[in-house]
Amino acid sequence: MTQQTESALTAEVKAMIGVSGDIVESWGNVDSEYLRRFTQAVMDPDPRYWDEEFAKQSKYGQIITPPIMVSYMASRIPPDQEDAITSAFEGNPMSDGIGDVKRPGELPPVPTNLVRVLNAGNELEIYQYPSIGDKIFFQNKYSDIRERVGRDGKPFLIITRETTFKNQNDAILCITRASTIRR
């Protein structure tokens, strides 16, 4: 008799597909100092990021910024909120420094008892380079949840979170999708 494996893609999990978070305004705006630190860290010396005269003559007519630089602004913790790192370590001295840190605009958790999280991959769609001074608004959504069966015969989930980034003019700058495996 074959043992039936219980599906991880329950009705409650399926119901999370399409669930969106609030539209959140990232703290601060796109500024030249963040741009400098980011481009040095990614090691991109493109003069369109820092040479105003050159940038003015480019197709874009102004300083531009790396397309997904703004995606990391989404994890900024506003300074009027409790110190998230201190809180994370008070709750768990062995915090990994990220999992217990509450971030703005988070989605409700997917109701599954699969707790191990692995990075499955990313998708990027790029429409416009953010400009210096832009305010950034983002919204998360569970765009897809699929079930797969591992080599061990146990089901696991691939959860895709889509985030749309817009500027103050409601123009889409980029869309990112991050997929995680939950085992």
């Binding site: 990614v42 369109r48 197709k59 397309p67 420094g97 990220i98 998708e123 990027l124 790029i126």
Partner: protein, 186 residues
């Protein structure tokens, strides 16, 4: 002419590093447009070579405010998560991709989209090769669409980020690529 990926992987890490083709600021200033008609299937993009150190990893963590300890706390990485060392960030690799595509399509093309997986743990000491290869081309809405296979290999040939990308190049006698970018419709 870029060194073929296959040949690059036969070299010692230090020799791979010498073949780095990441453009300097001045090279980006002088970058000449590649047109759709210039590209043939099978062509390889310039190779971007990286030699991440713990300091590079720390700089990235600080720049994007990523506090995950596996990227800077060696004791935590080794003893808690049982990793081989501190780990190169997936977010850094993800951010190299649009740079790589932007540079190749500049000044008038567009790095439209990419998708990739994260498969291997990368650590300081690895020499990393960001690579891309043209697999298909087509014209839609008077834009040249180039489908690429992309990835980031270690010096010993492990593919850490297999993926695909679609970039847009102008046609020689075509209109400028619209900005903000408007995807083709036909």
């Amino acid at each position: 002419m870029t060194t073929p990926l296959e040949d690059l992987l036969k070299l010692e890490p230090e020799d791979i590093w010498k073949r780095n083709e990441r453009p300097t600021a001045d090279q980006m200033r002088d970058k000449q447009q590649i047109y759709y008609e210039d590209i043939e299937e099978g062509a390889e993009l310039p190779k971007y070579i990286y030699k991440p150190t713990p300091t590079h990893l720390f700089r990235w963590s600080a720049a994007i405010e990523n506090f995950h300890r596996i990227h800077y706390d060696l004791d935590f990485g080794l003893n808690h998560d049982k990793n081989p060392s501190i780990l190169v960030h997936g977010s850094w690799k993800q951010s190299v991709v649009p740079q790589f595509l932007k540079d190749w399509t500049s000044p008038g093309g567009w790095p439209w989209k990419a998708r990739f997986e994260h498969r291997a743990m990368l650590v300081p000491g690895d020499v990393l090769i960001m690579w891309g290869r043209v697999v298909e081309k087509s014209v839609k809405s008077q834009m040249g669409l180039i489908e690429l296979e992309i990835g980031m290999k270690t010096h010993d040939g492990v593919e850490s980020m297999p993926g695909t990308a679609t970039v847009v190049l102008p046609l020689r006698d075509g209109p400028p690529i619209p900005y903000p970018f408007i995807p083709p419709t036909d």
